[in-house]
Each structure stands twice: as C-alpha cells, then as structure tokens.
C-alpha cells in the first residue's frame, strides 16, 4: 500500500513538470506587462525598467524558466511579483478557507445526494423521481453567483441569520462555522445535483443485476437487498464522481468565494491573472496540480475501503 502511494507520487512529478512548463509559457504569451500593471499608466519608462529589472523580468526566457524549475524542485515557489510575499505563505493563508469550503460542499453533497439518488432509483418514474431529477438539473444549470445572491438576500438580509461577508476568523471555531454555512450550502447545491444523478444511474444499473434478482427470489426483505447488496455495489462509481468533482469543486469555488468575499485559492488565482503575477500563477498551478493528484489518490484508496476486492500493487 505504501509502495503504491509512493509510486503514485513519483508518477505525479512528470505531470506536474509538464503543467508547470505550460503555465510558464502561457503566462508569458498573454500580452500584458506585470510592471505596467503594478505601477499604473502614468509611470515613466525609467521606473518601469527599474521594476522589471528588480522583478527579474528582463532576463531571457530560458534563464527565467531554468530558475523557476530549479526553485520549484527545491520546493521554493518564489515570491509574488506584486506583494513580494512568498507564494507558499499566500497559499497557506487562504488554503484553510478553500479546504473548509470544499469539505462543506462535499459533505452536503453526499449527505443529501446519496439518499436522494437511492430514493429516485428505487422509485423510478414516480413523482419523487421526476421532481428530484428536475431539481438536480436546475442545480447543475443554476449559476453559482446567482444562487449565492439569492441565499444572501433570504438568509442574510431578510432573516439576518448569517453575514454577507463570510470571511470568518479561522482562530474562532464558532465564527468559522457560522461564516461557512451559506457559502458551503451554495457550493453544496451543485454537489448534491452531481451526486444525486451519479447515485441514481449507478443504482439503476446495479438493481438490474442478476444477483439482485436472485436476492429477491430468495425472499430477502427489500431493505436488506438495498443496503447489503445494491448500495455497496453502486458505491464505486459514486466515489469516482465525488473524487472527480472534488477537483472541479476546488476550481468552481471561485464564484462562491467572490460573492461571499471569502479568501481562497480561486480568488487568489483571479487576482494573480488580472495583475499578471507570473510567479503567483505558477505557484498556484503547482498547488492545484498537487491537489488533483492527491484527490485522485484518495479516491483510489477509498475504493479499497468500500470494496474489498480492490487490491493495490
């Protein structure tokens, strides 16, 4: 198992290197000069040149690239071009917020999505199935910023239960949770929709299997068939979907972060893009790449817990 994990991480290195190279090139291909963005439009050429030199932007591309890759391999992601603080520190500052939000989204997604999916599969083509399917379609196609504003208007403005600006202090667990609920629900809505649909289709397939028919023929009670035979076998595709969307969720959280004004990786990357903060962009890509590799690994490991037939080698 440990060998398996190590292997996976080693395999991730070339992937990350490729991602880094692409990001490095794309960041420099987009027109726009970080120095000009930092200093504004009335800055003189002399001041711009000075800043470029200080930021190391006047070095040749190959030298910048080699410097960046060697630093990255040493685990040093460099400093933000704009603020001058270390990229790693900036990322670590906001990472807890993103993790909180993502976990909240996943929990809400699983807690509501799995039962709903099972229910709609069992009572296929009933009223409950239709209502849930339409609702989940709505959940998928509803823009996150719109649902966020609706949530704010109802629960923050009308009822006054939650704040609009949900960037709670991390050191205060009560406030942290209180500020997490609305954004978490907002992100969770999408996840509920995904999980419901995945659970439903996976369950429908399993329910058609021969062993289910056999179980029914044996005269087992419906509940036992459902929990012991159906759900357990339907779990793997559901876990895959959750794992797949976990990565997407980290990326998708950006709209939620902006409307609720929460710090987070999504907001960090938008800011870095607008300001042409190359080193920040590159650093964030490493972090994103790492998160995707990690979630894939966790997904793979979860298979083993849910299905003893899965072996790692």
């Amino acid at each position: 198992m440990i060998k398996f994990i190590l292997k996976r991480f080693l395999l991730a290195i070339p992937t990350l290197l490729a991602v880094l190279t692409i990001v490095f090139l794309i960041a420099r291909v987009i027109p726009g000069d970080p120095a000009a963005v930092i200093l504004g439009d009335s800055a003189g050429r002399e001041a711009l040149d000075n800043l470029r030199q200080r930021l190391g932007l006047n070095q040749s591309l190959s030298r910048q690239y080699i410097g960046f890759i060697t630093d990255a391999l040493k685990g040093n992601l460099g400093k933000s071009l704009v603020s001058g603080t270390s990229v790693m520190k900036e990322v670590m500052n906001v990472l807890p917020y993103t993790i909180d939000l993502t976990i909240a989204g996943v929990i809400i997604g699983v807690v509501f999505g799995v039962p709903l999916g099972v229910l709609t599969a069992v009572y296929r083509n009933s009223a409950i199935d239709f209502v849930t399917r339409i609702a989940s379609l709505l959940g998928l196609s509803f823009p996150a910023f719109y649902s966020a504003i609706l949530l704010i208007i109802v629960f923050a403005l009308q009822l006054g239960w939650f704040p609009v600006l949900s960037s709670g202090d991390l050191s205060n667990p009560v406030e942290r949770l209180h500020h997490l609920i609305l954004p978490g629900v907002n992100l969770g809505l999408i996840m509920v929709a995904y999980v419901t649909r995945a659970t439903r289709s996976s369950m429908l397939e399993v329910l058609r299997e021969d062993y289910i028919r056999t179980a029914k023929a044996k005269g087992l009670p419906g509940v036992v068939i459902l929990f012991r035979h159906a759900i357990r076998n339907a779990l793997i595709p559901i876990i895959t979907v959750i794992g797949l969307y976990l990565g997407v969720l980290v990326g998708n959280s950006v709209l939620t972060e902006i409307v609720f004004n929460r710090p987070g990786l999504g907001k960090l990357i938008i800011g870095a893009l607008n300001q042409r903060d190359y080193s920040m962009l590159q650093g964030l890509m490493v972090v994103y790449g790492f998160i995707i590799v990690l979630t894939n690994l966790i997904t793979d490991l979860t298979y083993g817990f849910s299905d003893p037939r899965v072996k790692y080698s």
């Binding site: 987009i30 726009g32 000009a36 963005v37 003189g44 002399e46 040149d49 603020s83 704010i152 403005l157």
Partner: protein, 519 residues
C-alpha cells in the same frame, strides 16, 4: 431549596455581568469601508497610482501642503506639514518652513526637514518611485535647519505646490521607517497622517487605527477597517445588511437612484471625473486625413452618451483637458458639434463616400466598453464601421501601446493642471512605442513647443495663454475627441459625517480625517 439556591447564583451572576459591563471601556468606533479591489496593490505612496491604494494612503500620509479636505482645487491649497513658504521671483528657489511637533506614527518620532529631503529624494529616484519624471527639474533638496527645507529647480515647473502636496510623490514618508523596514515598508507604511497602519490581511483587509498624536488632533474614529470586496453586488448587500458603512459605488445612474431610494443612505458624487477621450491614431489610414478625423468628431453625439450613463454621474466634455484643471479652456478652441450630415460630407470630400471600416481594440471592462459601443453605433450611422476587438483589460493595455488600434477610448485623471494631461497625451515624447512613451496614442506632435514653453513659464498669465494655444492647435488637428467625464461615486450611511463637504478628492476616495465621525 435547590431552586432558591439557583436563584441566588443567577442573581450573583447578573450582578457580575452588570459590574463587568460597567468596567468595560467604551467600544471602539470603527468605520468599515468596502473597496472595489481583490487585494491591496502597493501600500507605498511613491509607487502606486491605483485607486484602492491611493484612497487609503491619503489617510496615512501628509504633504508639505494639502488640498482642502473634500476639494481638489489647486487654487485653494492650504498649509499642511509646512507652515509657510516663499519662492524666488524666477520661480526656481522655494523655501518651506515646517510646522514644529509633528509626530510620525508609532515610535518614529518627530518629523523634521531631514524626512522631507529624504522623502522628496525618494520620489525623484526612479528606483524607488513611479513618479520620478515629475521631479526631473528638482536640482537640489536641502535641509537648511531641522525646520527649513529649500528646493532648487533647474527650470521652473508648472505648479510646484502640486508636487509637494498630499498626492503621489508629494506624500512624506518617515526616513527612519524606510531605512529600517526597507522592502517591507509597504507592508507597514509609516506616515504622519490621522490614521496609522495596523494590520494587512492578504486579499481581505487593511486596518488602520487612530493616530493619537496627530498634530491636528486625535481622530474621533478609533479604527478604520478597509475591506477588499471586488464584487459590486456583495458590497451593496453588505452595506444593506449593515456590515459596512461606506463603499465604492457603481458609476451608473440607475444604481445612484436605487441607492438614494434606500433609507439612511447618502450617495456622494464627486470629482475628479475620469476624463474620456477618443484618441485617433494619426499614423493609420484613413485617420491620417484630418477631414476623416473631423468627420468622426461630428458623428459623435455626446448628449446621447451622457443620457445613457446618467446626468448625475456623467458630464459632456468639450475640451481635451478635463474640466476644472488649471489652464483648461474651451474659449476660442475649435469645436465639432454633433452633425451627421457634415460628417458624411467630410467623408465624401476625403474620398470615402460610402464610409470605411476600421479595427479598434477595447477592454472588456464594462465602464470602458459600454460607451465605446455607443460610439460604434453613432459612427455606423455616418458609414464608419468600427470592428471592436474586445479583450481582457491588461491585454488591452499592452496592445494599445503597440500601435495596434486605430482608435483608443481611454480614461484618466491626473494632477489638475493642464500640463500633466497635455504632456502625457499630446507631447511627442510621450508617443507610444518610443523610449519615453506614456499615453500619446494619437501620435500628436504639433503642440510640443507650446507645452514645453508653458512648463517653464514663470508668468502665470502667459502660461495660461500657452496652454490655450496648445489646446487650439490640437483641437484644430482633431487628433483626439473629448467625449465625457465620469465622476466618482461612493455611498455611505447617513450618520457618517466626513467633517467637510465632499466635492472633490484627487486621491479618488473620500477624505477620512480627524473630524470624521458618526453622528
């Protein structure tokens, strides 16, 4: 029995709570502000020209002189760190006498002439300042004694007090602090203003606390919470739920009217307007023909644009120098009234009876895109097909500086003296693509002589004439078409009293001073 005992405990607890409450010091008065930005930029007054930074830094720093709070009229500037000043008759030597007992924030002690010299030298140095070119005529800056500073110029400048005011390079920093903090100065800027830097939380906020020893008196507000809230709707919702007291608004009539309809809300609309012009690239065909440029000018219907943007927030512009700038004038300056027939006739005369089509680059930011789309429609009516290439903002900034767009719809606000605008947009040294490039997108070069002469003209009357002559020449050649000005819009709770009337703020945000309070 048990109940009685419990009662006693509850009573005791109540008394303790009451005691605690009476011992508790009066709660801090906090002013919570919502700013349109995802983060701070450079918290160093000599480096930033961004609205979110400038609006904040003006509460931390002072200049030798200052604009009256709430005003941006250079004619009514008043003493600040300098008590008084004299200048030689040739305008080349200026002597400032400093106020005594001005304290820097924290433990950085008294402000003396040494700090002024250090600070102005820092602004002059391109390594530490984005405004070094403003100070190119500064020959020497000397401290004659701890309370006297003498500035010697190599040639007179258009408006010296502006350079030593509370704006851009004129902001005075603490020498000791800069030397001690070095690169970290912008993470904890030290000035002498009413509020001192307290904390910066990346992507979230900057908090300031009252400078108790502020020389004009201790501020009535204890703390300023300056939050970065990039989404306009989040700012508005947070304001409505009472989480912020003052915020950066939308420069749109509908928004202004909606906010005015809310209870306990005041909308502030103030100068400087962002002056918008359509710069015509005179090196590109067919805009190299003055008749074509004039045709474009006659095709633009300003009233329609202003009506779209709203009468409170926008104002038609008829001069290439923004309204209210020293030296701005429309008297005796050629004008191009809205007249589509005349435009068509001019196009015919220039050999384009059926009009022409041209590529124009534009940013995707709404405030800059919508007016350009109206202009596009207006030009279409006289036969000019504008193909808008809409792109991301920073990309657009880079592309238009590579001489790739036939027209550039650009907005700016500068120091309110005609020279700043004329030099940056219409002097040949500022032409894009040159080593000294700034923002001369049209390649205008016919008024260099007047602009240069006005810069070093010590006689104010003659200076005004030279600026007028420059504007006449440029408008006659029609290399840029002034279109409109868009003012600053903020909203605040009705009980927030600035302590002055807000009509203008060169630092693009309300002045929060020692007299600002909650009523």
């Amino acid at each position: 029995m048990i109940i009685r005992q419990m009662r006693r405990w509850v009573l005791l607890l109540g008394v303790l709570v009451l005691l605690g409450a009476s011992y508790e010091v009066k709660a801090d008065v906090t002013l919570r502000i919502g700013m349109d930005s995802s983060d701070a930029g450079q918290l160093d007054p000599h480096l930033t020209s961004k609205t979110p930074d400038m609006a904040l830094l003006q509460w931390i720093f002072n200049g030798l002189v200052r604009f009256k709070p709430g005003s941006m009229d250079p004619a009514t500037m008043e003493p600040d760190l300098a008590e008084k000043w004299t200048s030689s008759s040739d305008g080349r030597t200026w002597t400032f006498t400093l106020r005594k007992g001005v304290k820097f924030h924290g433990s950085y002690g008294e402000l003396t002439a040494e700090d002024i010299v250090f600070s102005l030298e820092r602004s002059k140095n391109p390594k530490s300042s984005a405004f070094s070119s403003d100070f190119s005529e500064f020959k020497t800056i000397e401290a004659l004694d701890p309370y006297t500073v003498r500035i010697t110029l190599s040639s007179p400048v258009p408006f010296l007090l502006g350079l030593v005011s509370n704006y851009h390079g004129g902001m005075i920093v603490s020498k000791k602090a800069v030397e001690k903090l070095g690169e970290n100065f912008k993470m904890g800027p030290i000035g002498s203003g009413p509020f001192q830097f307290e904390e910066y939380k990346s992507k979230q906020f900057v908090s300031l606390k009252a400078h108790k020893d502020y020389y004009r008196g201790t501020p009535k507000i204890d703390r300023v919470m300056y939050r970065y809230i990039p989404s306009a709707s989040s700012r508005e919702l947070a304001f409505r739920s009472g989480e912020i007291d003052l915020f950066y608004g939308d420069r749109e009539q509908r928004w202004v009217e909606r906010m005015r309809g809310q209870k306990d809300t005041i909308v502030d609309i103030f100068r400087p307007g962002e002056h918008r012009s359509l710069h015509l690239n005179t090196t590109m065909k067919p805009l190299d023909d003055v008749r074509v440029r004039r045709a474009i000018a006659h095709a633009i219907h300003r009233d329609e644009i202003v009506q779209f943007l709203g009468k409170d927030v926008a104002e038609a512009a008829y001069s290439i120098v923004p309204n209210g700038y020293l030296g701005q004038t429309t008297e005796g300056i050629p004008q191009y009234e809205y007249n589509p027939e005349k435009a068509k006739a001019l196009l015919k005369e220039a050999g384009f009876p059926n009009g022409f089509s041209t590529k124009v680059m534009n940013t995707n930011l709404d405030p800059l895109l919508k007016p350009m789309q109206i202009i596009q429609e207006q030009l279409r009516k006289v036969g000019i097909q504008v193909e808008l290439e809409v792109m991301e903002h920073a990309t657009w900034h880079a592309q238009i500086r590579k001489n790739l767009s036939s027209m550039v719809h650009y907005g700016a606000a500068r120091f309110p003296v005609a020279d700043s605008y004329l030099t940056q947009f219409y002097h040949s040294k500022s032409i894009i693509g040159t080593p000294t490039a700034v923002t001369n997108f049209s390649h205008t070069r016919m008024a260099d002589q007047e602009i240069d002469a006005a810069r070093s003209e010590p006689n104010p009357k003659k200076q005004l004439e030279l600026w007028k002559a420059a504007q006449q020449k440029i408008m006659a050649e029609c290399t840029a078409i002034p279109v409109f000005e868009l003012k600053q819009v903020w909203a605040r709770k009705a009980n927030l009293d600035y302590g002055h009337t807000l009509t203008g703020s060169l630092n693009l945000g309300p002045v929060i001073s020692e007299t600002t309070r909650f009523k």
